[in-house]
């Protein structure tokens, strides 16, 4: 299920900067390392960016989050929203102006989905019909059909649906800031990946300032514009863009936390569209077989890519299997290889390539036309390139295949992660 179009698009996105200024929280006057304590945390989240707080359990990431909506008050230090100290604000007003999503969703079991989503609009006294209209808008925004879902109770929803309702509820009054505490933690990995992708896409329109807590470094790298790695005792170990953290971990702790496979992880920050695509010998269905074979041999290729009238890939054919005479027909090509779009991450591309018969992924545009190919060697080259990783380069929306609902194109091979950025389709 995709997120629908946002109804807030016609208004400029509202976002605020959030600044931690030497914030400390101690739970036990003497002890320094009690779980959840925070020690002298200073960082600034620019407006409209996602900052992920990540670290092992007890590192104070959730405490830090809850100090922003003052569910927890700091022992010392200040938190500023757009330069204003939140300690001076009315706590109820403050909370109503900040979206809050938690892992177990915290949906009210005694209220329908519609009532849940309308919570904050009800608290601040919107008229009933406006509440209802807004709730419907938000349900559509997170990909839930309002007519179908608004009168259900949370217990009648799947885990993924509950998480969506949780996000919708937090967006009710279009708050400039969202706090998300492991918002996708309670669902299985496949649903989580889908929710992450949808949320990132939604964020492109919403451009909220988001503080996002997770213990999963992969999620942090994927979701964060900025990543704050925290360690036991509530110390900030590193605060940087994900690419920087992977390339230059600031300490042994960060390096260990990020994991030995950080070269591989870095691939998840880069997309197929950033590569200079390779070429392969191609021939249309109906072309003369002998000529196509000659071409392929000239290019010293082992395989020939057969495409149809619309330049869409039909399949690979081994050069030695190309018949000596006649024309190329649709049923000749045999081996499969993954179809990729330009938004697919190199990590997903690599994983699909390693599984394929022909280790060259076919990159297609949104109409399915062949743009070029990606090989394992090209990806390995990127890994060797090392440190000049440019993360989060905005992608042209016209190549936004990954953002389309995963079901739009039949993923023929169930073994592939259908709703990750990579589209895998046997050809």
């Amino acid at each position: 299920m995709p997120y629908g179009s946002t109804t807030m698009a016609d208004q400029p996105p509202r976002a605020s900067t959030v600044e931690f200024d030497r914030v400390t929280k101690r739970y036990d006057a003497g002890a320094k390392n009690t779980p959840g304590a925070v020690n002298d945390l200073s960082l600034t989240v620019p407006a409209g960016r996602i900052c992920v707080l990540v670290g092992p359990s007890g590192c104070g990431k959730t405490t830090s989050l809850k100090m922003v909506n003052r569910l927890i008050e700091p022992t010392s230090g200040r938190i500023l929203i757009d330069g204003e100290d939140i300690a001076k604000r009315d706590v109820i007003d403050l909370r109503r102006s900040i979206g809050y999503v938690i892992q177990q969703t915290g949906l009210f079991p005694h209220q329908t989905v519609g009532e849940n989503v309308a919570t904050v609009t009800r608290l601040i006294g919107w008229p009933k019909d406006r509440q209802r209209q807004r709730a419907d808008e938000l349900l559509a925004l997170v990909g839930l059909n309002p007519t179908k879902y608004r009168n259900r109770y949370p217990s009648q929803l799947s885990g993924g649906e509950r998480q969506r309702v949780g996000v919708a509820r937090a967006l009710a009054v279009d708050p400039p800031i969202m706090l998300m505490d492991e918002p996708f933690g309670a669902v299985d990995p496949i649903v989580r990946e889908r929710l992450q992708n949808e949320f990132l896409r939604l964020q492109e329109d919403l451009a909220k300032t988001i503080l996002f807590v997770t213990h999963d470094i992969d999620e942090a790298i994927k979701m964060g514009d900025l990543v704050a790695v925290m360690q036991a005792g509530g110390k900030l170990a590193q605060f940087a863009a994900p690419g920087e953290i992977l390339a230059n971990p600031a300490s042994d702790f960060v390096a260990r936390f990020v994991g030995a496979d950080r070269g591989l992880k870095r691939l998840s920050l880069r997309r197929v569209g950033e590569l200079t695509l390779g070429t392969a010998p191609m021939a249309h269905v109906g072309d003369e077989a002998a000529a196509a074979r000659r071409d392929a041999l000239e290019q010293e290729a082992e395989h020939l890519l057969v495409i149809d009238d619309g330049d869409r890939p039909v399949g690979w054919i081994a050069v030695e299997d190309v018949p000596g005479e006649g024309t190329l027909t649709e049923d000749l090509p045999e081996p499969m290889s993954p179809l990729l779009n330009r938004r697919a991450t190199l990590k997903d591309a690599l994983s699909l390539l390693l599984d394929a018969d022909v280790q060259a992924g076919i990159v297609v545009d949104r109409d399915g036309r062949v743009l070029g190919i990606v090989t394992v060697e090209m990806i390995a080259e990127v890994m060797r390139e090392g440190d000049h990783v440019v993360p989060d380069e905005p992608q042209p929306p016209e190549d936004d295949l990954a953002a389309l609902p995963e079901a739009v194109r039949e993923a023929g091979d169930a073994a592939t992660a259908d709703d990750s950025a990579a589209e895998a389709e046997p050809v």
């Binding site: 909370r95 809050y100 079991p109 005694h110 608290l123 217990s155």
Partner: protein, 212 residues
């Protein structure tokens, strides 16, 4: 069974049943209000839980005849005496079930409510209370059925509704009156229980849909 006796005493039987009903409803009603107040106090200030549940526990352990005997010198052979005893016995059950109800509300739900900017009163009536309903209703059922039984005992101080009917039946060796009293008491207990269950179902519409 002497059917003629029943036919000629219908008005008395009806009166006794109504008395019994009224004694029960007042006891459970007032008991609920007091217990709810205590539970609110505990909801705000947890440290009251020990003392309040202790006091109501002590009352609960006093045998009913003994309690009546203590009260009669103070408040006499009156409805008040009967009600004080009956109310006293509901407190332990009701306080524990209401507090238990509040405690049963999931932490993530209360935290989400706080995080979204509920006032404490708004949260109490909008979130905690509705979600505590199933356990509160369960406590009310036990309290109601128990009270219907205890009302019988107050026949000894001249109240007792259907208890009176049975007591007189024993004294005059009228087994029909004893049976009628017993059967009517059971019917009353069962019907009141059903009423409370119905109230509960009405108050928790989400629980009905949950399984579907």
């Amino acid at each position: 069974m002497n059917w003629d006796w029943i036919r000629s005493n219908i008005p008395q039987i009806v009166d006794a049943t109504i008395d019994h009903l009224i004694l029960t409803v007042i006891a459970v009603g007032v008991g609920f209000v007091i217990s709810f107040g205590c539970a609110l106090l505990i909801y705000r200030e947890r440290r009251f839980y020990g003392p309040l549940s202790g006091i109501s526990g002590v009352i609960y352990t006093i045998p009913s005849l003994a309690l009546l005997a203590f009260l009669v010198p103070v408040t006499g052979l009156s409805v008040l005496t009967a009600e004080i005893a009956l109310i006293g016995y509901t407190l332990l059950i009701l306080i524990r079930s209401i507090v238990g109800g509040f405690d049963s509300v999931e932490r993530d739900v209360t935290e989400a409510a706080d995080g979204m900017g509920y006032s404490w009163r708004g949260r109490l009536f909008g979130v905690d209370l509705p979600l505590a309903m199933p356990l509160i209703i369960a406590g009310l059922r036990v309290a109601t059925v128990t009270t219907v039984g205890l009302v019988m005992v107050t026949a000894l101080i001249g109240e007792g509704g259907l208890g009176q009917l049975m007591l007189r039946g024993f004294n005059f060796r009228n087994t029909t009156a004893v049976y009628v009293g017993a059967i009517m008491t059971v019917l009353l207990a069962v019907s009141l229980d059903l009423v409370v269950v119905a109230i509960g179902r009405f108050a928790t519409p989400w629980a009905r849909r949950a399984g579907s």
